[in-house]
């Protein structure tokens, strides 16, 4: 702790940080541009000037850039000093000499850091009377808009895109006052994290292009804290709505989970909510053509449930509450987890490892502090994108530390540290079936079959001292890799092992667990990340239920004839022919879902469910962290309801004992925590619905929200009563408590004078730290819970190519593999066409080349794909894009006949 004096006041502050962060952490207002809490300082913009004084006698002082100056004990500085203030105003005047003055048509306006800082410095009059330099814009793809004239040359964009996220196709060009930030030529920005530029850039150079399609100012949206549905990591998001459609997703800072960033699937994958394929009315197939309301549909379903033998199929993309409500409605013995075979196996195993092992699974931000990384069978950028960003930070850990030791600069001296690091990376090993885009970071990247990856993993565990049988059929290269990895892991202070659903091979997960257990025996604080396929796979597994197979069996042998399917497209879980047979045998298929999909085609009753934006719910991410998402807006029609509410209503009409007396969200949570012990504590994730601050609810809308008395006036000039939210402490209006809400229910970040995303500073304990009353979410799984797990001994057999056959393995795509995000036009545009990836040997053997068509048969059913050839692929294997619309093959790995 150091004592510093700011404008005559004394503060106790942390040492080792810079003055800018320190001032901001203390809640003081100080303008800045080039510094970013996650990117550090470079001292490029000169906006953060303050005056420091030698001692008490010194009245003259000297101007310094606060972001480049470390905290020293007994330091005296002044923010309000006249000269410093005048300097800051002057600087912004310079930065604005070429500004195009087009705030009115700028999408950043109203949430613009440049506007905020201009007001903060008091710069209000243009003294520059010469002409402005201009730039041409570039086309950057479907996600980002480019308006280069607004640039203030802070360099944040390239520092984020290149240095932080490892992008290759964006840079700064030209010199002096001509500098240009963009691509070498027009084209799609390749990075999976490009969308963050819209938040990182303090001006309107980079803005969200999907927002532009239905543009709304920040002050005009209705917001709620939410959780990304894009993958198993559960990044925190803020979702904003206007006029009944979802408009934008922005990062909801969470110091443990996603920090300041999101991936592009998460940021842009929201448009399914506004899709024309939404199910908007309850419907009964038998009564098509008749005009029936919700009550009649419920009555119909009641009769069917009473007469039929009912089973329920849950979903890993539905909330815990909805799955639980279904489980209670149909009864535990009739509740099936709607996961495909492989997914089910992998998630079960992952949960077992996390629960019974000794090793802690880290949050994403913890994972970023690792200093050696082993990735087994996972193409992270496509299976758990934000984790890849953590890995990027982790591989910098060792060289950055070295650089700091040798050059004696602080870690926030970004340019200096990077200069000293050069291109050095810490130890990182990536084993996968095909090369990944992270391979450039890897000490060694090695491609082989998943089974072999598992065997290498087992050998590594043994090399680390695990009591396992030796594996002696590894090649020399593999043997050497094992030795190298073992040495790196033993040298590391915080080794990290990553595996998961990407390999679709249980052996790989077991191997990862073994490695960590072996490290644990050496008392190393190792970390194990296991990725999960969907946003609530882990939660569903923890809730527990039967396999999907047994649902199929039950229907096939007549034990059941009526199924309630919750937010699930069974054509993504079962082979098409199996699903067809299944539905043919079902008498009634009651589907509660929000998008019209292949399962909806077969449904006899459709109940329109709310998407995440229209529902409250809880999900558990791959880390075992339960997180709550809250409803953003009341759906356009009352026919659309949260899935759990539909199920409660079904419970009411059928007099279901287990669902009695449940009406609101809190009731479901209460029952859930009572019935399933492992969920204890989730009732505290967000305050209950009756929570009030100063007698008031927390408003979802900013105080400047406009158009209340006009937006619906075309329908009726008398404004309707706003919807009432009985489920959460949030209100659907702009009325309510205006101070800082509890961290778990912050609907949007805004602070007086800070309209942009930078207002996050005001909500943190310290810059880059946790939110004021702790980061939202609760970890439900802690290591050593029972510590039964020691070592897995079942090593998978070597993969052997089989004549005339190909082993199909899933290849994941950030754009395309996820079911809902593909409904965003921009994501659909970036999706690959279905293909089959072959090794050159197999391509030769089957006499096909790139772009040729190849027909394979799975279970006797033919599938035709376009061929891609990848020299890194093992002979005898074929990669198929997983989950991609139009692929048709669901369960992988499996054998296919050529």
């Amino acid at each position: 702790m150091a004592t510093i004096h700011i404008d005559g006041k004394t503060y106790q502050v942390k040492e080792g940080r810079n003055l800018l962060e320190t001032c901001l952490s203390l809640g003081l207002d100080l303008p800045y541009f080039c510094w970013h809490p996650a990117l550090g300082s470079v001292g490029a913009c000169r906006q953060c000037a303050v005056k420091t004084f030698r001692d008490e006698q010194d009245t003259k002082g000297r101007l310094v850039m606060s972001c480049m100056e470390p905290v020293k004990d007994q330091l005296r500085l002044s923010i309000s000093d006249k000269e410093a203030a005048a300097f800051r105003e002057q600087v912004i005047g310079w930065l604005m000499t070429n500004h195009p003055h087009d705030c009115a048509v700028c999408d950043e306006g109203g949430s613009c850091h440049l506007q905020d800082m201009t007001v903060m410095t008091g710069h209000s009059y243009r003294n520059y009377h010469f002409s402005k330099r201009t730039h041409k814009n570039q086309y950057l793809g479907p996600f980002l808009n480019h308006e280069m004239n607004r640039c203030i040359q802070c360099y944040r964009c390239v520092r984020f895109y290149k240095d932080f996220a490892g992008g290759k196709d964006m840079d700064v060009f030209a010199a002096h006052n001509h500098v240009y930030f963009g691509r070498h030529r027009d084209g799609i920005l390749e990075s999976e994290f490009s969308g963050n530029l819209a938040e990182v850039c303090p001006t309107g150079v980079f803005t969200d292009k999907t927002l532009k399609q239905h543009y709304t100012r920040k002050w005009d949206m209705t917001y709620a804290p939410s959780v990304c549905q894009g993958c198993g990591l559960g990044c925190n998001i803020i979702a904003g709505e206007r006029y009944g459609s979802l408009r934008q997703i922005t990062t909801r800072y969470n110091g443990a989970v996603n920090g300041y960033f999101l991936c592009d699937r998460g940021r842009y994958g929201y448009e399914f909510v506004n899709s024309s394929r939404r199910i908007k009315q309850a419907a009964v197939r038998a009564l098509t053509g008749t005009d029936i309301g919700t009550a009649e549909v419920l009555q119909y379903v009641k009769d069917k449930l009473a007469s039929g033998k009912v089973i329920g199929i849950g979903s890993p993309r539905a909330s815990l509450e909805s799955n639980f409500a279904l489980q209670q409605l149909v009864g535990r013995p009739h509740f099936h987890l709607g996961m495909s075979d492989t997914e089910h196996d992998l998630t079960t195993l992952a949960l077992k490892i996390l629960r019974q092992g000794h090793v802690r699974t880290p949050s994403m931000q913890e994972a970023a502090t690792a200093d050696a990384v082993v990735i087994l069978g996972e193409d992270l950028l496509n299976t758990a994108p934000m984790m890849a960003l953590s890995v990027r930070q982790a591989v910098n850990r060792q060289p950055a530390q070295e650089a700091m030791n040798t050059t004696h600069v602080a870690n926030w001296q970004d340019a200096a540290v990077r200069e000293a690091m050069q291109d050095k990376h810490g130890p990182c090993f990536i084993l996968n079936v095909q090369p990944t885009r992270l391979d450039e970071l890897a000490t060694v990247a090695y491609q082989t079959a998943p089974e072999t990856i598992a065997r290498i993993g087992f050998a590594l565990a043994r090399a680390l001292g695990a009591p396992l049988a030796g594996i002696n059929d590894l090649t020399d290269q593999e043997q050497q890799l094992v030795t190298q990895m073992a040495a790196a892991l033993m040298n590391a202070a915080r080794p990290l092992v990553i595996a998961g659903y990407g390999s679709a091979c249980e052996g790989v997960l077991r191997a990862a667990s073994n490695i960590c257990e072996a490290l644990h025996q050496h008392a190393k604080p190792s970390m194990l990340v296991l990725t999960t396929p969907e946003c609530n796979s882990m939660g569903l597994e923890m809730l527990g239920g039967l396999r999907l197979d047994s649902a199929v069996d039950a229907v096939m042998n007549g034990e059941a004839d009526t199924v309630i399917i919750l937010e699930n497209d069974l054509y993504r879980r079962l082979d098409k022919h199996a699903a067809d047979n299944f539905f043919r045998r079902c008498k009634e298929v009651i589907l509660i879902d929000h998008l019209y999909n292949a399962t909806a085609e077969k449904a006899t009753v459709l109940l329109p469910a709310g998407t995440f934006a229209e529902s409250d719910g809880t999900m558990v991410n791959n880390e075992g962290r339960a997180q709550r998402f809250l409803q953003v807006y009341a759906p356009a029609t009352t026919a659309i309801q949260e899935s759990w509410r539909w199920l409660l209503q079904l419970g009411r009409v059928t007099n279901c004992e287990r669902l009695r007396n449940m009406e609101f969200f809190d009731d479901v949570i209460h029952a859930l925590t009572q019935q399933v012990r492992c969920f204890a504590g989730i009732e505290k994730l967000t305050p209950p619905a009756d929570f009030r601050i100063a007698g008031q609810k927390i408003p979802r809308e900013p105080h400047r929200y406009s158009g209340r008395t006009a937006m619906l006036a075309n329908i009726s000039v008398s404004e309707p009563k706003p919807p009432v939210d009985g489920d959460t402490p949030l209100s659907f209006t702009m009325e309510g408590y205006r101070g800082e809400p509890p961290s778990s229910v912050i609907p949007f970040f805004w602070w007086p004078g800070w309209n942009s995303v930078q207002s996050i500073n005001k909500f943190q304990v310290e810059i880059g730290g946790s939110l004021h009353d702790g980061d939202p979410g609760k970890r439900l799984i802690e290591p050593g819970g029972n510590g039964q797990l020691t070592f897995f001994t079942d090593v998978p057999d070597h993969f052997v190519a089989c004549a005339g056959h190909l082993q199909l393995v899933p290849l994941y795509h950030i754009y395309g593999s996820e079911e809902l995000s593909v409904h965003t036009p921009g994501i659909a545009e970036r999706m690959p066409a279905p293909y089959i990836m072959l090794s050159p040997e197999d391509a030769r053997r089957y006499q096909v080349a790139e772009q040729h068509q190849l027909q394979v048969a799975v279970d006797g059913h033919p599938y035709t794909f376009m061929v891609k050839v990848n020299p890194a692929l093992q002979r005898g294997m074929a990669g198929i894009p997983a989950g991609l619309p139009g692929t048709g093959i669901v369960n992988m790995p499996q054998m296919a006949k050529v």
């Binding site: 500004h99 201009t134 060009f173 030209a174």
Partner: protein, 171 residues
């Protein structure tokens, strides 16, 4: 007694004063140009819609009676897809006009907007858009702001240099 007579005398004198009463509606009162009455959306000198859908009027409106949706035309110009003012709520404060960066929204000297049915006081863009520049002739936002639109490329706005060739090595 005296004050009584004085008042009667003064009232009597008023008979010879100029009449202030207008025989409305036969006679219209002259209204100053800056009278805050009926709100209109004006056009720029080239006949294009001035409103760029920036939402500032809506944000400034104290009774929140303006609602619009911005969109972008093929030629790059922004415009409101719909623009609605609920005049049954409007207090004719003129804040919207003051907030407007393009001089699009203007309060005009006309107050004859009474309706029997309140619903008729909801004006849509068709009702608001007029074929005139209103009180501020000559102003064209796109001539000033740097955003390029069809017919006005980068570097062609006021006080702009032609776009930089970033590949040039000249200083």
């Amino acid at each position: 007694m005296f004050s009584l007579l004085r008042s009667m005398w003064l009232v009597f004198l008023h008979m010879f004063h100029k009449r202030e009463t207008y025989q409305y509606p036969e006679h219209k009162a002259p209204i100053p140009a800056r009278w805050r009455g009926r709100i209109a959306l004006t056009r720029d000198p080239d006949g294009g819609e001035r409103c760029v859908g920036c939402y500032l009027c809506a944000a400034a409106c104290p009774v929140d009676c303006i609602s619009l949706q911005a969109t972008e035309a093929e030629d790059g110009r922004r415009y409101p897809l719909f623009f609605r003012i609920n005049f049954s709520r409007c207090i004719f404060c003129g804040f919207c006009e003051e907030a407007c960066p393009t001089y699009a929204i203007q309060l005009l000297p006309d107050f004859e907007m009474a309706e029997y049915n309140r619903q008729n006081l909801v004006y849509e863009k068709e009702d608001l858009l007029i074929n005139s520049q209103g009180k501020y002739p000559g102003y064209n936002y796109y001539r000033v702001a740097g955003m390029s639109i069809q017919g006005k490329d980068k570097g062609e706005a006021e006080h702009e240099e032609p776009p930089v060739d970033i590949k040039s090595l000249l200083p």
